[in-house]
C-alpha cells in the first residue's frame, strides 16, 4: 500500500513574533506536528504562508497531497484567493482537509462551509475537557471518553457553521462555555474534520490525545476511490 501523502500547512507567524508561541513551537507548529505524526504509512511534508509565492501550495504540491492540515490565525487575509480556490477545488475532488483551531476562519474552511464560522473566544488559561461523543467513529479510536487540556483558549458557542454531519467531540471550559469541538463535513468527494485544540500560546500539539485524534483523522480523511467527476455534462437516456 502506498503511503498517504500529508501536507501540514502552517501560517508560521506567531512563532516568530510571540515569545510564548516560540517557546512551545520553536521550529513552528508544522514541525512539531510532523514529528508527532511520523508513521510508516504517512509521507509528511510541510508548507507555510511565506514558503514561496504560492504559500508552498502549488498545483503540483496539491495534486500530490492526499490530506491537508491547516493552521492559520491572524493572517488569513494574506492567503491568495487563487490558492484558496485551488485548495477548495482539491477538497471537492477528494483531498482530505483538517482545519485546526483558529483555522475555523481560514479562507478555505469558510468557503467550503458557506458560513462565517465565527465563534466566541477567551484567552484566559481555561482548563478544557474534551468529550468523545461518537465512540464508534474511526477518529476516536483509542481516545478515552474524555481527556483534559490543562490550559487552552476558550472557544465557545455560538459556532456559526452548518449543522455538522457527525459530531465527534464536545469541549467543556472552566468559565462555563461549551463548544462543538470536533465536527465532520463532506464536500463532494472530500472529507473535512474541524478540531478545536491548538492555540499557539498553549501546548495542545504536545498532548498525546490531541495527536491521536489528528492521526486518526488523517487516515479517516483519506481520499476515496478515483472517480471522474464531469462537471455539468449532458447525458443520453440510459433505458
Amino acid at each position: 500500500m502506498n503511503p498517504l501523502r500529508v501536507t501540514i500547512w502552517n501560517e508560521f507567524y506567531h512563532e516568530h513574533t510571540d515569545e510564548r508561541a516560540r517557546a512551545n513551537y520553536p521550529d513552528g507548529m508544522h514541525e512539531c506536528l510532523a514529528r508527532a505524526l511520523k508513521a510508516d504509512d504517512l509521507e509528511i511534508t510541510t508548507a507555510w504562508l511565506e514558503k514561496d509565492e504560492e504559500h508552498g501550495l502549488s498545483e503540483e504540491v496539491l495534486a500530490n497531497t492526499d490530506v491537508l492540515l491547516w493552521w492559520g490565525h491572524c493572517r488569513h487575509g494574506d492567503v491568495r484567493d487563487d490558492v484558496t480556490d485551488r485548495v477548495v477545488a482539491r477538497v471537492q475532488q477528494g483531498m482530505g482537509f483538517l482545519p485546526l483551531h483558529s483555522a475555523h476562519m481560514s479562507k478555505p474552511f469558510t468557503r467550503l462551509m458557506g458560513t462565517p464560522c465565527t465563534l466566541r473566544w477567551r484567552e484566559n488559561d481555561d482548563r478544557c475537557v474534551v468529550w468523545n461523543v461518537n465512540a464508534g467513529h474511526p477518529i476516536t479510536k483509542g481516545v478515552p471518553l474524555h481527556f483534559v487540556l490543562e490550559k487552552e483558549e476558550m472557544y465557545g458557542e455560538y459556532f456559526f457553521i452548518p449543522e455538522p454531519e457527525e459530531l465527534i467531540f464536545l469541549s467543556w471550559f472552566d468559565g462555563g462555555q461549551v463548544f462543538r469541538s470536533g465536527c465532520t463535513f463532506t464536500r463532494g468527494l472530500g472529507k473535512i474534520f474541524y478540531f478545536q485544540p491548538g492555540h499557539e500560546v498553549y501546548r495542545a500539539f504536545h498532548d498525546e490525545n490531541v495527536i491521536r485524534v489528528i492521526a486518526n483523522a488523517i487516515r479517516w480523511a483519506k481520499p476515496p476511490q478515483a472517480r471522474e467527476f464531469r462537471a455539468g455534462a449532458s447525458m443520453e437516456p440510459v433505458v
Copy 2:
C-alpha cells in the same frame, strides 16, 4: 384556528415518596407544567401512570392528542407494552412527542430511537449552564444564548442515542461534564424533542427559560397535515 391538544404525562411517583420532589411539585410535575404552559392556543390535559388501567392513555386520549409530553423515571418498566405500542404508532403517524429529563430511558423513547439511550449521571447539586447552539430554530425563540440552572442533576456523555437530526442545546456542568441536552428527531410524520432539565429534586420546571423551551417545542412539534399512510401497499405504474 383550533387549539393544539397537549397531553402531559407524568409517572407521578417521586412526588408521593420523596420529600424533596413533593416540596418542588406538590401537585405533581404535570400540574406544575400545565399551569406554566397555559395559553390560549393550547388545550392541556394531564395523565399519569396510575390514572387508570391504561395510564390515562386510552386509544381515545391519544387519538385526541397532538403533542405528548412524557416524564418518567424509576417506573419505566411498569408502563404497559400495549400502551407503549400505541404511543409509538401515534408518533409515527404525526403526534409530537417531548420526552423530558429521565424519560430518556422511557419505553416509547427508546423504542423510537432504536438505541438504549443510556447516559452518565450524578445527583450532586451541579450547576448547569444550558447553551443554545441553534439560534435560528423555532425551539429557541426568545431563549438567550445561555441560561443557568443553579442546581440540576448532571447528565453527561456518552448519551447512547442516534445522531440527532438537529442539535439545539448543549449543557455544561460544574463537575466537568457536557451533554447533548436538546435534540430533535423525526420518526415518520412525528417530531420528537428530547430535553434534559427536570430532575425531581430540583426546580427546573419553575424556570422561565425551561418553560419557554418546552412551550416553543410544543408548537414546533405540531402534527403536520393529515395524510393517509397506507402501510405496505402495492402500486400500479404511474407512467
Copy 3:
C-alpha cells in the same frame, strides 16, 4: 401579522432571446410566479439582472426581503460579486433562499453550498414524475405522493451538492435518470430550499403542484426570530 416580504429574482434573458421561453413566459418568469403566488400574507416584488446596476438587489431591497427566489441560467457570470456577497450574508443572517431549476449553478447557491453543484442534464421532452419523499414536511402540505410534469428538462445525478439536511422530492425521468429534486439546507439562520422544475422552454411554473411547493417553501423559509449574531466576539466566563 405582517406579510412576508418576497422578492422574486429572475435573470430575464431567455424570455427576450428564445421564442419558446417567450411563449411560456411573455412577461418573464418572475411575473408568472408573482401572479401565481399572490396571497394576502405575501408582499411580492420582482427584480432581474438588468433592472438596475445592482440587479435590483440593493442593500435596501435585501434588508427588506424575507424570502428570495432566484432563477438564473446562462448569465450566472454576469451577477456582480459584491451583490452575491450581499445575498449570501443576508441568507446567513436569516433570509430564506429558494434557488429554482438552473439556479443550481448560480453564484449565491454555490457559495452557500461550498460545492460546484453541477449535474447531468438533457433537453429532450422527458416526462418528469416528482415524488414526495417527506410526507410530513411543511413544504409538501397538500402535495400528493407524486405528480407528473409532461415535459421537463432532465436533471440527473450525480448532483454535486453536500448531503441535503432533508430530502423532500425525488424526480424520475423517461430516459432512466433520477434526481434529488427538492433539498433543504441551513446556513446560519437562513433556510434554503432547492427545487428542480422550471426549464424555460417548458411550463413548470404554470403547474399547480409546482406552485404549491414554492408557495409552501416560502412560508417554511420565513426568517426566524430576530437575533443579534456578533461575529467573532470575545466572551467573559459565565460561571
Copy 4:
C-alpha cells in the same frame, strides 16, 4: 489482520416453495451470496430460520459475527423476539447489519429504525436502474454512476424510514417510481446499510454490481474499535 466474520442469514422459505426462487437460488440465497462474496479477508458462515431453534443465531454465533446480512420476507413474524433482541443489542454494540431487499420489514431492522419501514411495491418485471448518488462513499467503490437490473420487483416511495444518515443509491423503475434504495444508519456503535435489490423471483444476487455493493458494505460495516459501553453509569466529577 484477522478476517472479518460474516454471517449470512436467510429466511430460506421461498426457495422451497416457489419454482422461480428455486431456479434462481437452488441452494438458497445464502449459498449464492456466500459463493459470490468469497474472499481472503472474509470468514463467511450461513444461518437460516429453521437451522435450529434459535434460527442459527445463538449467543455464541452472534458474539462471533462482525457483520450480519439478513434476507427475510413472508416469515418475519416467525423470528423469535428474544433472538431479535439479541441481534438488536449486538448491532448497538458494534456488529454491522445489512438488511437486504424485503428485510426492510424484518423485526431487527424495524426495531432499530423506530418506524414501520413500509413501502410501495409491484412484481411486474420492471426494469430497475440503480443510481450511485454518493460517489465518494466506500460502499460505491468500483460501482459505476448507474447500473441496470433487467427485472426487479418495484420498491417505491413513500419508504417509511427515518431520514437516512447517508443516501447512497436511488433506484428508477419502468413504471415511474423511484426509491431510496441504499441508505446508511448508525445505532450506537453499529453501522447499518439497507439495500433494495434482491427479490427472490429475479436474479439480483447474480449481478456483479449488486455483489460489489454488498462486498463493499461488509467492509464498511466492520465493527469499530472495542470499547466498553457502561449502560446508565453514575460518574464522578472530572475537574
